[in-house]
């Protein structure tokens, strides 16, 4: 059964985002063609170029248009040295994240070949987990301020904002995902021994709701121990859930385990609502236009999007095709290979066409 077409808003953005998203689009088309289904992709030119020309980052009405007309957003990267403070990027990314209330940052961490892993003796199956990062609260809400700015007595504060509702919904999402995907172990990481208010809330909520998911072994780790354990023996992890800032850090360490930022895919989700998928790497202006960027993060993000929208078989085929490309050394320079962005994308798309 073909089902209704998927409606995807494609936002390549800036720098290498344009190149990697082109390959993700190529692969989406290939996998859809091969299964006789349809992905209808609509490009949007939001980004630095348009911002510099028109002064508009996210056009008025964009959010409503996205909500009503699309099933998902596939984004490349935002950031351009010509825009001071990357204002446009903050407007677009944070705008989407907060307006759409994308409270789940979903980061699958899967090692496709042990040659990509810097850990001695690590095997492919040793690195296979998902990190759920709280995406709308914590230290990243930009609350705080300066007092006596510029003076020797200057004081700066940043507020760690944690709501009962916000903490509970990310924890519940992680537990539910683990349950629905056959995972049996979940780790919640915080720093409740020092952050005795904000993270005490995390620990209390965690302990309260864990018994509601009886098939899952729920374990609490302080975040410093978590990162130590991730390096020491990553195979113990299946699902990790943590706060916004810790998740930011932990997911980069995880990217290191899976072959670098070029391999990392992400989803910014609000379950049941419009969600956004993007590779973890930035716009990398120095690499832009050189056919050198690794498109796998973008392609895997497209796969994650399909999985989120229920195209599980197609999503699995995208992952397998990326694994094939890695195994056969069809990889870009960041992974030690000699292929270009387009060659890798074309090879994976070719594999998907069968």
């Amino acid at each position: 059964m073909a089902g209704p077409p998927l409606r995807v808003a494609v936002v390549p953005g800036d720098g290498i985002g344009v190149e990697v998203v082109a390959e993700a689009v190529r692969c989406l088309t290939a996998v859809a063609d091969a299964s006789g289904r349809e992905v209808r992709m609509t490009p949007f030119d939001w980004g630095a170029e348009r911002y510099l020309k028109t002064g508009v980052a996210l056009p008025p009405g964009a959010l409503r248009m996205l909500r009503e007309g699309f099933d998902a957003i596939l984004l490349g990267a935002m950031g351009d040295p010509r825009v001071p403070d990357n204002r446009h990027a903050a407007d677009i990314l944070l705008g989407l994240r907060f307006e759409l209330d994308l409270y789940v940052n979903h980061r699958p961490v899967r090692l496709f070949h042990e040659k990509l892993c810097p850990l001695k003796g690590a095997r492919r199956e040793d690195v296979d987990f998902v990190v759920f990062r709280e995406n709308t609260e914590g230290l990243y809400v930009m609350m705080g301020g300066h007092f006596k700015k510029g003076t020797p007595e200057e004081i700066a504060t940043e507020i760690d904002l944690n709501t009962r509702r916000g903490v509970e919904r990310i924890l519940r999402h992680a537990f539910a995902w683990a349950r629905d995907h056959g995972r049996t172990r979940l780790v919640m990481a915080d720093k409740s021994n020092v952050l005795v208010h904000a993270h005490e809330l995390w620990l209390r909520v965690f302990r309260t709701i864990a018994p509601e998911y009886p098939g899952i072994e729920a374990r609490h780790l302080y975040v410093d121990n978590l990162v130590f354990q991730m390096v020491r023996e990553p195979r113990q992890f299946q699902v990790i859930v943590t706060s916004n800032m810790f998740g930011d850090i932990v997911t980069d360490l995880a990217a290191g385990l899976q072959g670098g930022l070029g391999m990392a895919a992400s989803g910014n989700l609000h379950p049941g609502r419009l969600s956004l998928f993007e590779p973890v790497h930035g716009s990398s202006p120095a690499l832009a236009g050189r056919n050198a960027a690794n498109p796998m993060g973008a392609i895997l993000s497209a796969g994650l999007m399909l999985e989120h929208l229920g195209w599980t078989e197609e999503a699995a085929r995208i992952e397998a095709a990326v694994a094939w490309a890695v195994e056969t050394d069809c990889i870009t320079a960041d992974l030690g290979g000699a292929r270009g962005t387009r060659e890798v994308g074309e090879a994976i798309a070719g594999r998907l066409r069968g």
Partner: protein, 662 residues
């Protein structure tokens, strides 16, 4: 070179017929005679042209195929003279070489194919080819055809390529179409060829099938394979040694340039073990510079690629590659490839491991994957317990004399399991897997249990039991075994030997010549040897030491006139033996102890015979004629070897045997 759609003979190039009449071969080589298949019968042609005849071991001390080719067929002698003078195959301007049945039997050495190919041969014609030799021909892009094909070629016909490829799996056919393994692998990496998609659905699988199904390239979820499926699989690791590494390096430089890189060097290794004692063997002396060059080439390869280094330190080897790989490298569920026939020993850890030629190894160590036709399996279900004085070696000599002799194990994976396995310590299980190659099997695999995993974990600080448990693979209960399921009642076995046969009467010296020691009659010995990958393990040292301790207690020692050598399989084993005081026992009883290495087992070290009338009893794994010197060699268990060394004749060990008779 990629062959065309049709194949025809090149004007001006010649066809060489290896006739049973050496005079005809001589005249063809001199350019005085050209023959046509239509004038000959297959019976006029040489059968069983073996790889030792094509390239004797000394010819393999060269690594460049063009140098090896100068000694093509140097092993064929008439009245002590080479039938093929140096360089004569190349000088003759031949492109086709023709023989009878079973071309390329014997050692797996790929140099046999190289010697022909670099002498200009692009088509080999025979009534049948030995399996490994055929695979080496495919890897090198040498076409194989039968005599009917040759008649068509000589009639001037352009014969379709398909006529050369009958019987091969689809991937093998594609390799042939691309002109060999290197061009095919490159085309595959560029995405220009597609292996036919696997259509095998859910089915119960043997241990080997499960491992291959878990290594399919481009597959992340569950998958199934069946015998005959052509698949592209990831290789978890492998190794080469100083006899083979130089060629691997040379081929990779030729194919990929001086700056070539390996996909995953961390899981591959080089070993210095095969020629470590060659310096002390008189007949190897003329080749010393070439052997030193092989060692140097291996050092260059190791530095260039960063593979793990198990080179000798101050002239002492860390051990035989298969022994050390088992101690340090291989994990359950692994798929391992290395350039030596006893690679199958790694199967004792529940891995699938077997040997390949230098080209195949070069291709896979470069890419990290290889192409495999899923082999059939044969299962041995062990029940009961071995009686005292009977060992795993006796189990294998029993299987060799029965199942292997009947060719039930040929090209199949021998899978060992069953309740009797528990009574065999991990080292004994290694003997089972090790001797699969003597059974002409593809590989030997032993189901891994908790004891196997503990054995591994005890030797590797970074490996946890839990991680090993997650990797261990077992066969499905309903798996199909094309070779059948055979129950071996361990309690019914008795000490065995394999005899040197009677080559003059057409019974070659062979591991399948099984006989019970108690039915052997009086066989006085000159040499006893305990060592090699199959009999230089910790348990083997326990066995030698048990016998010699008893001898010592009874005031006995190695019989006068007999030399008894014990050589450790690895440095770890040597340390184990020293720590337990075995070395003093050996010293007091007249045993000569040798540092680790392959030594006499490949005719390169102390313990080889020097005269045809000498008799050796040895715990190694093969007794092919001339392999360990010109004498007659009986294969036996470590217990039998040690007991025989004391008695001066082949006897089985019995507890208290020396105390009784005095």
């Amino acid at each position: 070179m990629r062959p065309g759609r049709d194949v025809s003979l090149t004007p001006g190039k010649r066809v060489l017929f290896l006739t049973k009449d050496p005079g005809l071969v001589r005249r063809q080589l001199r350019g005085e005679l050209d023959l046509e298949m239509k004038d000959l019968r297959v019976e006029d042609l040489l059968d069983d042209v073996n790889t030792d005849a094509m390239t004797p071991a000394w010819a393999c001390f060269d690594y460049r195929p063009e140098d090896i080719a100068r000694n093509a067929y140097a092993g064929v002698t008439v009245g002590g003279e080479r039938l093929f003078p140096e360089g004569s195959l190349l000088a003759g301007g031949f492109e086709v070489i023709v023989s009878g049945y079973r071309k390329g039997v014997g050692s797996s050495r790929e140099t046999a194919v190289q010697a022909e190919k670099w002498s200009g041969i692009r088509i080999a014609i025979a009534a049948s080819f030995a399996p490994i030799h055929a695979r080496n021909n495919v890897a090198q892009g040498v076409l194989m055809g039968d005599h009917a094909v040759l008649r068509r070629l000589q009639a001037g016909e352009a014969v379709p390529l398909a006529a050369f490829q009958e019987g091969g799996d689809p991937v093998t056919r594609m390799v042939i179409e691309h002109g060999g393994l290197f061009p095919f692998t490159e085309a595959y990496r560029r995405g220009e060829v597609r292996v036919p998609p696997l259509r095998t659905g859910p089915r119960p699988m043997t241990l080997a099938e499960k491992i291959l199904a878990g290594h399919l390239v481009g597959v992340l979820g569950p998958a199934w394979v069946k015998p005959g499926d052509a698949v592209c699989v990831r290789v978890d690791g492998g190794y080469s040694h100083e006899f083979t590494t130089a060629q691997v390096h040379h081929f990779l430089e030729q194919e990929h340039g001086k700056g070539y890189r390996l996909a995953n060097p961390a899981r591959f290794a080089v070993f210095e073990d095969h020629l470590i004692y060659a310096d002390g063997v008189p007949r190897m002396a003329p080749f010393a510079p070439k052997i030193e060059r092989l060692r140097e080439m291996q050092r260059v390869f190791q530095r260039h690629t960063g593979v793990q280094d198990f080179s000798a330190v101050d002239g002492t080897s860390p051990g035989i590659c298969h022994s050390v790989a088992r101690e340090r490298l291989i994990e359950p569920g692994d798929f391992i490839q290395a350039t030596d026939s006893h690679t199958c020993m790694g199967g004792s850890l529940g891995a699938l491991a077997y040997g390949v030629g230098a080209t195949e190894y070069a291709a896979l160590v470069h890419s990290g994957f290889t192409f495999v036709e899923v082999p059939e399996s044969i299962r041995f279900e062990l029940v009961g317990e071995l009686p005292p004085g009977v060992t795993a070696k006796d189990v294998m000599l029993h299987i060799l004399a029965g199942h292997a002799k009947r060719q039930e194990t040929l090209d199949r994976v021998m899978e060992f399991g069953g309740p009797g396995l528990v009574s065999l310590p991990p080292d004994e299980r290694a003997t089972l897997a090790n001797m699969a190659t003597e059974c002409s099997a593809k590989a030997g695999v032993v189901e891994a249990d908790e004891e196997t995993l503990r054995w591994i974990a005890a030797r590797r600080p970074l490996v946890t039991l839990e991680a090993l448990r997650a990797r261990a693979v077992g066969p499905d209960p309903e798996a199909e075994y094309a070779g059948g399921v055979h129950v071996i009642d361990l309690s019914a076995l008795r000490p065995m030997v394999a005899t040197p046969g009677d080559p003059a009467k057409g019974v070659p010296s062979d591991p399948t010549n099984g006989a019970r020691v108690d039915e052997l009659g009086e066989v006085p010995i000159d040499i006893a040897y305990g060592g090699s990958c199959t009999a230089g393990k910790e348990v083997d040292l326990d066995l030698y030491a048990r016998v010699m301790q008893e001898a010592l207690a009874a005031g006995r020692r190695v019989k006068d006139g007999v030399e008894f050598f014990i050589q450790f399989g690895s440095k770890g084993v040597e340390e184990y033996a020293r720590a337990r005081g075995y070395v003093e026992v050996f010293a007091k009883t007249g045993v000569r102890v040798i540092h680790p290495g392959c030594g006499a087992c490949i005719g390169c070290g102390p313990g080889v015979s020097s005269r045809p009338d000498q008799v050796t009893v040895s715990a190694i794994n093969r007794n092919y004629q001339n392999r360990s010197g010109p004498g007659r060699l009986y294969l036996a268990s470590p217990l039998t070897v040690a007991a025989s060394a004391v008695e001066g004749r082949i006897v089985a060990y019995r507890e208290g045997m020396f105390a009784e008779g005095g």
